[in-house]
Assembly symmetry: C2
Homo-oligomer: 243 residues x 2
Protein backbone atom coordinates (compact mmCIF):
# COMPACT_ATOMS: atom_id res chain seq x y z
CA UNK A 1 0.00 0.00 0.00
CA UNK A 2 0.83 3.67 -0.01
CA UNK A 3 3.13 3.81 -2.96
CA UNK A 4 2.39 7.42 -3.65
CA UNK A 5 3.71 8.99 -6.80
CA UNK A 6 4.64 12.29 -5.24
CA UNK A 7 7.61 12.50 -2.91
CA UNK A 8 5.43 14.45 -0.52
CA UNK A 9 4.62 12.95 2.85
CA UNK A 10 1.60 15.13 3.41
CA UNK A 11 -1.01 12.67 2.15
CA UNK A 12 -3.36 15.58 1.70
CA UNK A 13 -5.62 14.10 -0.97
CA UNK A 14 -9.35 13.47 -0.63
CA UNK A 15 -10.18 10.63 1.73
CA UNK A 16 -13.33 8.53 1.48
CA UNK A 17 -15.64 8.22 4.47
CA UNK A 18 -15.01 5.14 6.58
CA UNK A 19 -17.98 3.50 8.26
CA UNK A 20 -18.86 0.24 9.97
CA UNK A 21 -22.24 -1.49 9.71
CA UNK A 22 -23.38 -4.47 11.72
CA UNK A 23 -25.83 -7.21 10.81
CA UNK A 24 -27.26 -8.34 14.12
CA UNK A 25 -29.10 -11.64 13.81
CA UNK A 26 -31.17 -13.55 16.32
CA UNK A 27 -34.02 -16.04 16.35
CA UNK A 28 -37.37 -15.04 17.84
CA UNK A 29 -40.53 -17.15 17.60
CA UNK A 30 -38.91 -19.64 15.27
CA UNK A 31 -37.93 -16.94 12.80
CA UNK A 32 -34.62 -15.40 11.84
CA UNK A 33 -34.56 -11.71 12.69
CA UNK A 34 -32.23 -8.85 11.88
CA UNK A 35 -31.96 -5.57 13.76
CA UNK A 36 -32.64 -2.39 11.81
CA UNK A 37 -32.65 1.24 12.85
CA UNK A 38 -34.70 4.04 11.38
CA UNK A 39 -32.77 6.98 10.05
CA UNK A 40 -33.62 10.44 11.35
CA UNK A 41 -35.99 12.56 9.32
CA UNK A 42 -34.99 15.98 10.53
CA UNK A 43 -31.22 16.28 10.30
CA UNK A 44 -30.76 16.63 6.58
CA UNK A 45 -28.94 13.33 6.38
CA UNK A 46 -29.46 10.92 3.48
CA UNK A 47 -32.39 8.50 3.36
CA UNK A 48 -34.51 10.19 6.05
CA UNK A 49 -36.96 7.82 7.70
CA UNK A 50 -35.61 4.77 5.92
CA UNK A 51 -34.63 1.62 7.78
CA UNK A 52 -30.94 0.85 7.81
CA UNK A 53 -28.35 -1.39 9.36
CA UNK A 54 -26.99 -0.10 12.64
CA UNK A 55 -23.62 1.49 12.12
CA UNK A 56 -21.88 4.73 11.48
CA UNK A 57 -18.60 6.48 11.03
CA UNK A 58 -15.46 5.10 12.55
CA UNK A 59 -14.54 7.29 15.47
CA UNK A 60 -10.81 7.70 15.30
CA UNK A 61 -10.65 8.56 18.99
CA UNK A 62 -12.96 5.89 20.36
CA UNK A 63 -12.26 2.91 18.11
CA UNK A 64 -8.90 1.14 18.33
CA UNK A 65 -9.75 -0.98 15.30
CA UNK A 66 -12.62 -1.94 13.04
CA UNK A 67 -13.84 -4.80 15.20
CA UNK A 68 -13.86 -2.61 18.29
CA UNK A 69 -15.99 -0.17 16.35
CA UNK A 70 -18.42 -2.93 15.42
CA UNK A 71 -18.62 -4.08 19.03
CA UNK A 72 -19.33 -0.54 20.13
CA UNK A 73 -22.23 -0.22 17.68
CA UNK A 74 -23.62 -3.54 18.85
CA UNK A 75 -23.36 -2.59 22.50
CA UNK A 76 -25.00 0.76 21.90
CA UNK A 77 -28.01 -0.81 20.21
CA UNK A 78 -28.52 -4.01 22.15
CA UNK A 79 -26.45 -3.94 25.32
CA UNK A 80 -24.89 -7.22 24.26
CA UNK A 81 -21.16 -7.33 24.96
CA UNK A 82 -19.99 -10.77 23.89
CA UNK A 83 -21.62 -11.89 20.67
CA UNK A 84 -20.33 -14.07 17.93
CA UNK A 85 -18.83 -11.48 15.63
CA UNK A 86 -17.44 -12.04 12.17
CA UNK A 87 -16.35 -9.76 9.40
CA UNK A 88 -18.61 -10.00 6.39
CA UNK A 89 -16.86 -7.82 3.85
CA UNK A 90 -16.61 -4.27 2.70
CA UNK A 91 -18.54 -2.16 0.28
CA UNK A 92 -17.06 1.02 -1.10
CA UNK A 93 -17.83 3.21 -4.07
CA UNK A 94 -18.34 6.75 -5.19
CA UNK A 95 -22.07 6.21 -5.51
CA UNK A 96 -23.29 4.44 -2.41
CA UNK A 97 -23.52 7.56 -0.25
CA UNK A 98 -24.70 10.88 -1.69
CA UNK A 99 -22.27 12.71 0.59
CA UNK A 100 -19.30 11.30 -1.33
CA UNK A 101 -16.95 8.36 -1.81
CA UNK A 102 -17.48 6.05 1.15
CA UNK A 103 -16.45 2.58 2.22
CA UNK A 104 -18.20 0.55 4.88
CA UNK A 105 -16.85 -2.44 6.72
CA UNK A 106 -19.71 -4.85 7.41
CA UNK A 107 -19.74 -7.27 10.33
CA UNK A 108 -22.31 -9.78 11.35
CA UNK A 109 -23.19 -10.74 14.88
CA UNK A 110 -25.20 -13.64 16.26
CA UNK A 111 -26.86 -13.13 19.62
CA UNK A 112 -29.48 -14.77 21.79
CA UNK A 113 -32.68 -12.81 21.93
CA UNK A 114 -33.08 -13.08 25.70
CA UNK A 115 -31.70 -10.30 27.81
CA UNK A 116 -31.55 -7.92 24.88
CA UNK A 117 -32.89 -4.47 25.62
CA UNK A 118 -33.16 -2.49 22.45
CA UNK A 119 -31.77 0.99 22.84
CA UNK A 120 -34.50 3.34 21.77
CA UNK A 121 -33.87 6.91 20.85
CA UNK A 122 -36.32 9.75 21.17
CA UNK A 123 -38.62 7.89 18.84
CA UNK A 124 -39.57 4.59 20.47
CA UNK A 125 -39.91 2.87 17.12
CA UNK A 126 -36.49 3.63 15.74
CA UNK A 127 -34.88 0.27 16.57
CA UNK A 128 -36.66 -2.98 15.75
CA UNK A 129 -36.30 -6.61 14.78
CA UNK A 130 -37.34 -7.52 11.25
CA UNK A 131 -38.06 -11.03 10.07
CA UNK A 132 -35.58 -12.11 7.42
CA UNK A 133 -37.81 -13.37 4.64
CA UNK A 134 -38.46 -12.82 0.98
CA UNK A 135 -40.40 -9.57 1.40
CA UNK A 136 -37.60 -8.01 3.43
CA UNK A 137 -34.84 -9.25 1.14
CA UNK A 138 -36.61 -8.32 -2.06
CA UNK A 139 -37.76 -4.92 -0.91
CA UNK A 140 -35.35 -2.22 -1.99
CA UNK A 141 -36.45 0.07 0.80
CA UNK A 142 -33.34 -0.12 2.96
CA UNK A 143 -31.05 2.90 3.08
CA UNK A 144 -27.87 3.08 1.01
CA UNK A 145 -26.79 -0.34 -0.31
CA UNK A 146 -27.86 -2.02 2.90
CA UNK A 147 -30.24 -4.38 1.10
CA UNK A 148 -27.30 -5.83 -0.80
CA UNK A 149 -25.24 -6.10 2.37
CA UNK A 150 -28.11 -7.81 4.14
CA UNK A 151 -28.51 -10.28 1.28
CA UNK A 152 -24.81 -11.06 1.42
CA UNK A 153 -24.99 -11.55 5.17
CA UNK A 154 -27.95 -13.89 5.01
CA UNK A 155 -26.29 -15.84 2.23
CA UNK A 156 -23.10 -16.17 4.26
CA UNK A 157 -25.00 -17.20 7.35
CA UNK A 158 -27.07 -19.83 5.54
CA UNK A 159 -23.97 -21.13 3.83
CA UNK A 160 -21.93 -21.46 7.00
CA UNK A 161 -24.76 -23.02 8.93
CA UNK A 162 -24.45 -25.99 6.60
CA UNK A 163 -21.12 -26.93 8.09
CA UNK A 164 -20.62 -25.04 11.35
CA UNK A 165 -22.07 -24.75 14.83
CA UNK A 166 -23.03 -21.11 14.35
CA UNK A 167 -26.73 -21.53 15.26
CA UNK A 168 -25.66 -22.30 18.82
CA UNK A 169 -24.85 -18.60 19.21
CA UNK A 170 -28.46 -17.70 18.47
CA UNK A 171 -29.71 -19.49 21.59
CA UNK A 172 -29.43 -18.67 25.28
CA UNK A 173 -27.57 -21.27 27.32
CA UNK A 174 -28.34 -23.85 28.36
CA UNK A 175 -30.17 -25.04 25.27
CA UNK A 176 -31.46 -28.46 24.29
CA UNK A 177 -30.71 -30.45 21.18
CA UNK A 178 -34.30 -30.14 19.91
CA UNK A 179 -34.01 -26.37 20.32
CA UNK A 180 -30.72 -26.34 18.48
CA UNK A 181 -32.17 -28.47 15.72
CA UNK A 182 -35.14 -26.11 15.38
CA UNK A 183 -32.68 -23.23 15.09
CA UNK A 184 -30.82 -24.96 12.29
CA UNK A 185 -34.13 -25.59 10.54
CA UNK A 186 -35.21 -21.98 10.93
CA UNK A 187 -32.00 -20.63 9.43
CA UNK A 188 -31.75 -23.22 6.69
CA UNK A 189 -35.43 -23.08 5.88
CA UNK A 190 -35.77 -26.83 5.63
CA UNK A 191 -36.27 -29.80 7.93
CA UNK A 192 -33.30 -31.74 9.27
CA UNK A 193 -33.29 -35.40 10.25
CA UNK A 194 -33.35 -35.82 14.02
CA UNK A 195 -31.08 -38.80 14.31
CA UNK A 196 -28.45 -37.60 11.91
CA UNK A 197 -28.49 -34.19 13.51
CA UNK A 198 -27.80 -35.59 16.95
CA UNK A 199 -25.06 -37.87 15.72
CA UNK A 200 -23.41 -34.97 13.97
CA UNK A 201 -23.58 -32.67 16.97
CA UNK A 202 -22.24 -35.23 19.39
CA UNK A 203 -19.48 -36.29 17.02
CA UNK A 204 -18.31 -32.68 16.79
CA UNK A 205 -17.76 -32.79 20.54
CA UNK A 206 -18.41 -29.12 21.21
CA UNK A 207 -21.30 -29.43 23.68
CA UNK A 208 -21.05 -29.93 27.42
CA UNK A 209 -23.95 -31.33 29.38
CA UNK A 210 -25.48 -28.81 31.75
CA UNK A 211 -28.12 -30.85 33.51
CA UNK A 212 -31.67 -31.74 32.57
CA UNK A 213 -33.85 -28.76 31.77
CA UNK A 214 -37.52 -28.46 32.73
CA UNK A 215 -39.94 -28.11 29.86
CA UNK A 216 -43.67 -27.68 29.59
CA UNK A 217 -44.40 -31.37 29.84
CA UNK A 218 -43.31 -34.80 28.74
CA UNK A 219 -39.79 -36.08 28.90
CA UNK A 220 -37.37 -33.37 30.01
CA UNK A 221 -34.47 -32.82 27.64
CA UNK A 222 -30.80 -32.50 28.46
CA UNK A 223 -29.43 -28.98 28.52
CA UNK A 224 -26.09 -28.13 26.92
CA UNK A 225 -23.57 -25.34 26.94
CA UNK A 226 -20.79 -24.66 24.48
CA UNK A 227 -17.49 -26.08 25.62
CA UNK A 228 -15.75 -23.10 24.05
CA UNK A 229 -17.79 -20.03 23.17
CA UNK A 230 -14.74 -18.49 21.56
CA UNK A 231 -14.59 -20.52 18.39
CA UNK A 232 -17.32 -22.24 16.40
CA UNK A 233 -16.93 -25.81 15.23
CA UNK A 234 -16.49 -26.79 11.59
CA UNK A 235 -17.98 -30.10 10.55
CA UNK A 236 -16.01 -32.26 8.11
CA UNK A 237 -15.95 -31.27 4.46
CA UNK A 238 -15.36 -32.53 0.98
CA UNK A 239 -11.93 -33.58 -0.15
CA UNK A 240 -11.58 -35.35 3.16
CA UNK A 241 -8.09 -35.86 4.56
CA UNK A 242 -6.07 -38.77 3.35
CA UNK A 243 -2.56 -40.02 4.01
Amino acid sequence: MATRKTASTKNDFPRPFTTVDVLIFTVIDDALKVLLVQRPSDTGEPHPGAWALPGGFVNVDLDADLEACARRKLREKTGVASPYLEQLGSWGSAARDPRGWSATHAYFALIASDGVTLAKGANAADVAWFTVDQPLLAKKKLAFDHAAILRAGVERLRSKVEYTSLPAYLLPEPFTLPQLQRTYEVVLGRPVDKSGFRTRMMAADFLAEAGVVESDSNRPPMGYRLKDRGTPVFFPRTFSPRG
Copy 2:
Protein backbone atom coordinates in the same frame (compact mmCIF):
# COMPACT_ATOMS: atom_id res chain seq x y z
CA MET B 1 -24.70 3.86 9.06
CA ALA B 2 -24.08 7.55 9.52
CA THR B 3 -26.24 8.21 12.52
CA ARG B 4 -24.25 11.22 13.58
CA LYS B 5 -24.98 12.83 16.90
CA THR B 6 -24.73 16.40 15.69
CA ALA B 7 -27.39 17.81 13.44
CA SER B 8 -24.65 19.18 11.24
CA THR B 9 -24.33 17.87 7.72
CA LYS B 10 -20.75 18.92 7.38
CA ASN B 11 -19.18 15.58 8.35
CA ASP B 12 -15.98 17.42 9.08
CA PHE B 13 -14.43 14.96 11.51
CA PRO B 14 -11.14 13.13 11.05
CA ARG B 15 -11.30 10.46 8.37
CA PRO B 16 -9.08 7.36 8.32
CA PHE B 17 -6.97 6.60 5.27
CA THR B 18 -8.57 4.19 2.84
CA THR B 19 -6.33 1.82 0.93
CA VAL B 20 -6.62 -1.34 -1.16
CA ASP B 21 -4.07 -4.16 -1.15
CA VAL B 22 -3.99 -7.11 -3.52
CA LEU B 23 -2.68 -10.61 -2.96
CA ILE B 24 -1.67 -11.78 -6.41
CA PHE B 25 -1.11 -15.53 -6.52
CA THR B 26 0.19 -17.75 -9.25
CA VAL B 27 1.97 -21.07 -9.65
CA ILE B 28 5.50 -21.15 -11.09
CA ASP B 29 7.72 -24.25 -11.17
CA ASP B 30 5.27 -26.26 -9.09
CA ALA B 31 5.27 -23.69 -6.31
CA LEU B 32 2.68 -21.20 -5.12
CA LYS B 33 3.95 -17.64 -5.54
CA VAL B 34 2.76 -14.25 -4.36
CA LEU B 35 3.68 -10.90 -5.85
CA LEU B 36 5.41 -8.39 -3.58
CA VAL B 37 6.71 -4.90 -4.21
CA GLN B 38 9.56 -3.18 -2.48
CA ARG B 39 8.75 0.09 -0.77
CA PRO B 40 10.79 3.16 -1.70
CA SER B 41 13.68 4.08 0.52
CA ASP B 42 13.95 7.74 -0.30
CA THR B 43 10.52 9.32 0.05
CA GLY B 44 10.16 9.39 3.79
CA GLU B 45 7.31 6.91 3.65
CA PRO B 46 6.90 4.17 6.27
CA HIS B 47 8.81 0.89 6.06
CA PRO B 48 11.43 2.00 3.52
CA GLY B 49 12.94 -0.88 1.58
CA ALA B 50 10.58 -3.44 3.02
CA TRP B 51 8.60 -5.80 0.84
CA ALA B 52 4.87 -5.23 0.81
CA LEU B 53 1.68 -6.24 -0.93
CA PRO B 54 0.93 -4.20 -4.03
CA GLY B 55 -1.68 -1.60 -3.25
CA GLY B 56 -2.20 1.95 -2.22
CA PHE B 57 -4.67 4.67 -1.50
CA VAL B 58 -8.06 4.67 -3.12
CA ASN B 59 -8.10 7.34 -5.76
CA VAL B 60 -11.45 9.02 -5.46
CA ASP B 61 -11.24 10.28 -9.01
CA LEU B 62 -9.96 7.13 -10.72
CA ASP B 63 -11.70 4.36 -8.81
CA ALA B 64 -15.45 3.91 -9.13
CA ASP B 65 -15.46 1.31 -6.39
CA LEU B 66 -13.15 -0.85 -4.31
CA GLU B 67 -12.98 -3.68 -6.78
CA ALA B 68 -12.13 -1.30 -9.61
CA CYS B 69 -9.31 0.00 -7.47
CA ALA B 70 -8.02 -3.51 -6.90
CA ARG B 71 -8.18 -4.25 -10.62
CA ARG B 72 -6.26 -1.08 -11.32
CA LYS B 73 -3.47 -2.08 -8.93
CA LEU B 74 -3.32 -5.52 -10.48
CA ARG B 75 -3.16 -4.15 -13.99
CA GLU B 76 -0.45 -1.66 -13.08
CA LYS B 77 1.79 -4.38 -11.63
CA THR B 78 1.18 -7.32 -13.93
CA GLY B 79 -0.67 -6.16 -17.03
CA VAL B 80 -3.32 -8.78 -16.30
CA ALA B 81 -6.83 -7.50 -16.93
CA SER B 82 -9.16 -10.41 -16.22
CA PRO B 83 -8.07 -12.39 -13.19
CA TYR B 84 -10.10 -14.27 -10.68
CA LEU B 85 -10.65 -11.59 -8.06
CA GLU B 86 -12.22 -12.03 -4.66
CA GLN B 87 -12.49 -9.82 -1.64
CA LEU B 88 -10.50 -11.18 1.28
CA GLY B 89 -11.43 -8.82 4.08
CA SER B 90 -10.45 -5.54 5.62
CA TRP B 91 -7.94 -4.52 8.23
CA GLY B 92 -8.26 -1.20 9.97
CA SER B 93 -6.84 0.24 13.15
CA ALA B 94 -5.13 3.22 14.65
CA ALA B 95 -1.83 1.38 14.85
CA ARG B 96 -1.25 -0.35 11.54
CA ASP B 97 0.09 2.70 9.73
CA PRO B 98 2.34 5.23 11.50
CA ARG B 99 0.74 8.01 9.49
CA GLY B 100 -2.56 7.55 11.31
CA TRP B 101 -5.81 5.58 11.49
CA SER B 102 -6.07 3.56 8.30
CA ALA B 103 -8.20 0.83 6.85
CA THR B 104 -7.22 -1.38 3.97
CA HIS B 105 -9.49 -3.50 1.82
CA ALA B 106 -7.64 -6.65 0.81
CA TYR B 107 -8.41 -8.59 -2.36
CA PHE B 108 -6.86 -11.70 -3.70
CA ALA B 109 -6.31 -12.51 -7.33
CA LEU B 110 -5.44 -15.75 -9.08
CA ILE B 111 -3.64 -15.48 -12.39
CA ALA B 112 -1.73 -17.68 -14.79
CA SER B 113 1.96 -16.97 -14.79
CA ASP B 114 2.30 -16.94 -18.56
CA GLY B 115 2.06 -13.65 -20.32
CA VAL B 116 2.69 -11.70 -17.15
CA THR B 117 5.16 -8.89 -17.53
CA LEU B 118 6.06 -7.49 -14.17
CA ALA B 119 5.97 -3.73 -14.13
CA LYS B 120 9.33 -2.63 -12.88
CA GLY B 121 9.95 0.82 -11.54
CA ALA B 122 13.24 2.67 -11.61
CA ASN B 123 14.71 -0.12 -9.56
CA ALA B 124 14.46 -3.32 -11.59
CA ALA B 125 14.14 -5.46 -8.48
CA ASP B 126 11.19 -3.72 -6.91
CA VAL B 127 8.52 -6.17 -8.05
CA ALA B 128 9.05 -9.90 -7.63
CA TRP B 129 7.41 -13.26 -7.09
CA PHE B 130 7.98 -14.87 -3.68
CA THR B 131 7.41 -18.53 -2.94
CA VAL B 132 4.67 -18.97 -0.36
CA ASP B 133 6.26 -21.24 2.21
CA GLN B 134 6.99 -21.36 5.89
CA PRO B 135 9.97 -18.98 5.75
CA LEU B 136 7.93 -16.32 4.01
CA LEU B 137 4.87 -16.75 6.22
CA ALA B 138 6.80 -16.87 9.46
CA LYS B 139 9.09 -13.96 8.65
CA LYS B 140 7.77 -10.74 10.07
CA LYS B 141 9.62 -8.69 7.54
CA LEU B 142 6.70 -7.51 5.46
CA ALA B 143 5.60 -3.90 5.74
CA PHE B 144 2.64 -2.84 7.88
CA ASP B 145 0.42 -5.81 8.84
CA HIS B 146 0.90 -7.38 5.43
CA ALA B 147 2.26 -10.60 6.90
CA ALA B 148 -1.03 -11.13 8.70
CA ILE B 149 -2.99 -10.30 5.56
CA LEU B 150 -0.87 -12.71 3.55
CA ARG B 151 -1.41 -15.47 6.10
CA ALA B 152 -5.15 -14.88 5.96
CA GLY B 153 -5.09 -14.98 2.18
CA VAL B 154 -3.14 -18.21 2.00
CA GLU B 155 -5.41 -19.77 4.58
CA ARG B 156 -8.48 -18.72 2.61
CA LEU B 157 -7.01 -20.01 -0.62
CA ARG B 158 -6.03 -23.37 0.83
CA SER B 159 -9.41 -23.69 2.47
CA LYS B 160 -11.39 -22.92 -0.68
CA VAL B 161 -9.26 -25.16 -2.84
CA GLU B 162 -10.64 -28.07 -0.83
CA TYR B 163 -14.06 -27.62 -2.35
CA THR B 164 -13.81 -25.30 -5.36
CA SER B 165 -12.31 -25.14 -8.81
CA LEU B 166 -10.12 -22.13 -7.95
CA PRO B 167 -6.81 -23.73 -8.99
CA ALA B 168 -8.01 -23.67 -12.59
CA TYR B 169 -7.46 -19.91 -12.55
CA LEU B 170 -3.78 -20.43 -11.79
CA LEU B 171 -3.18 -22.17 -15.13
CA PRO B 172 -3.09 -20.89 -18.69
CA GLU B 173 -5.71 -22.40 -20.96
CA PRO B 174 -5.88 -24.95 -22.32
CA PHE B 175 -4.64 -27.05 -19.43
CA THR B 176 -4.65 -30.79 -18.88
CA LEU B 177 -6.11 -32.74 -15.98
CA PRO B 178 -2.68 -33.86 -14.77
CA GLN B 179 -1.60 -30.21 -14.75
CA LEU B 180 -4.70 -29.24 -12.83
CA GLN B 181 -4.15 -32.03 -10.35
CA ARG B 182 -0.56 -30.93 -9.82
CA THR B 183 -1.82 -27.41 -9.16
CA TYR B 184 -4.23 -28.70 -6.53
CA GLU B 185 -1.40 -30.62 -4.93
CA VAL B 186 0.91 -27.61 -4.94
CA VAL B 187 -1.63 -25.40 -3.23
CA LEU B 188 -2.83 -28.04 -0.79
CA GLY B 189 0.66 -29.28 -0.07
CA ARG B 190 -0.35 -32.93 -0.24
CA PRO B 191 -0.91 -35.59 -2.90
CA VAL B 192 -4.35 -36.20 -4.37
CA ASP B 193 -5.64 -39.48 -5.75
CA LYS B 194 -5.71 -39.44 -9.52
CA SER B 195 -8.88 -41.42 -10.07
CA GLY B 196 -10.93 -39.64 -7.49
CA PHE B 197 -9.67 -36.29 -8.71
CA ARG B 198 -10.74 -36.97 -12.27
CA THR B 199 -14.12 -38.29 -11.26
CA ARG B 200 -14.69 -35.21 -9.15
CA MET B 201 -13.66 -32.78 -11.87
CA MET B 202 -15.76 -34.41 -14.53
CA ALA B 203 -18.77 -34.70 -12.24
CA ALA B 204 -18.58 -30.96 -11.56
CA ASP B 205 -19.07 -30.42 -15.29
CA PHE B 206 -17.15 -27.17 -15.56
CA LEU B 207 -14.52 -28.20 -18.11
CA ALA B 208 -14.87 -28.15 -21.89
CA GLU B 209 -12.61 -30.24 -24.06
CA ALA B 210 -10.24 -28.18 -26.17
CA GLY B 211 -8.47 -30.81 -28.20
CA VAL B 212 -5.48 -32.99 -27.46
CA VAL B 213 -2.39 -31.08 -26.42
CA GLU B 214 1.13 -31.95 -27.44
CA SER B 215 3.50 -32.81 -24.63
CA ASP B 216 7.17 -33.72 -24.43
CA SER B 217 6.56 -37.37 -25.08
CA ASN B 218 4.33 -40.30 -24.26
CA ARG B 219 0.59 -40.30 -24.51
CA PRO B 220 -0.73 -36.82 -25.31
CA PRO B 221 -3.29 -35.55 -22.81
CA MET B 222 -6.62 -33.85 -23.47
CA GLY B 223 -6.67 -30.09 -23.08
CA TYR B 224 -9.52 -28.31 -21.32
CA ARG B 225 -10.90 -24.83 -20.95
CA LEU B 226 -13.31 -23.49 -18.35
CA LYS B 227 -16.88 -23.53 -19.57
CA ASP B 228 -17.47 -20.34 -17.62
CA ARG B 229 -14.51 -18.29 -16.47
CA GLY B 230 -16.85 -15.98 -14.62
CA THR B 231 -17.76 -18.18 -11.68
CA PRO B 232 -15.83 -20.96 -9.97
CA VAL B 233 -17.48 -24.27 -9.20
CA PHE B 234 -18.29 -25.44 -5.68
CA PHE B 235 -18.09 -29.15 -5.07
CA PRO B 236 -20.77 -30.75 -2.87
CA ARG B 237 -20.53 -30.23 0.86
CA THR B 238 -21.61 -31.58 4.19
CA PHE B 239 -25.25 -31.50 5.23
CA SER B 240 -26.06 -32.70 1.75
CA PRO B 241 -29.42 -31.84 0.26
CA ARG B 242 -32.36 -33.93 1.21
CA GLY B 243 -36.03 -33.87 0.35
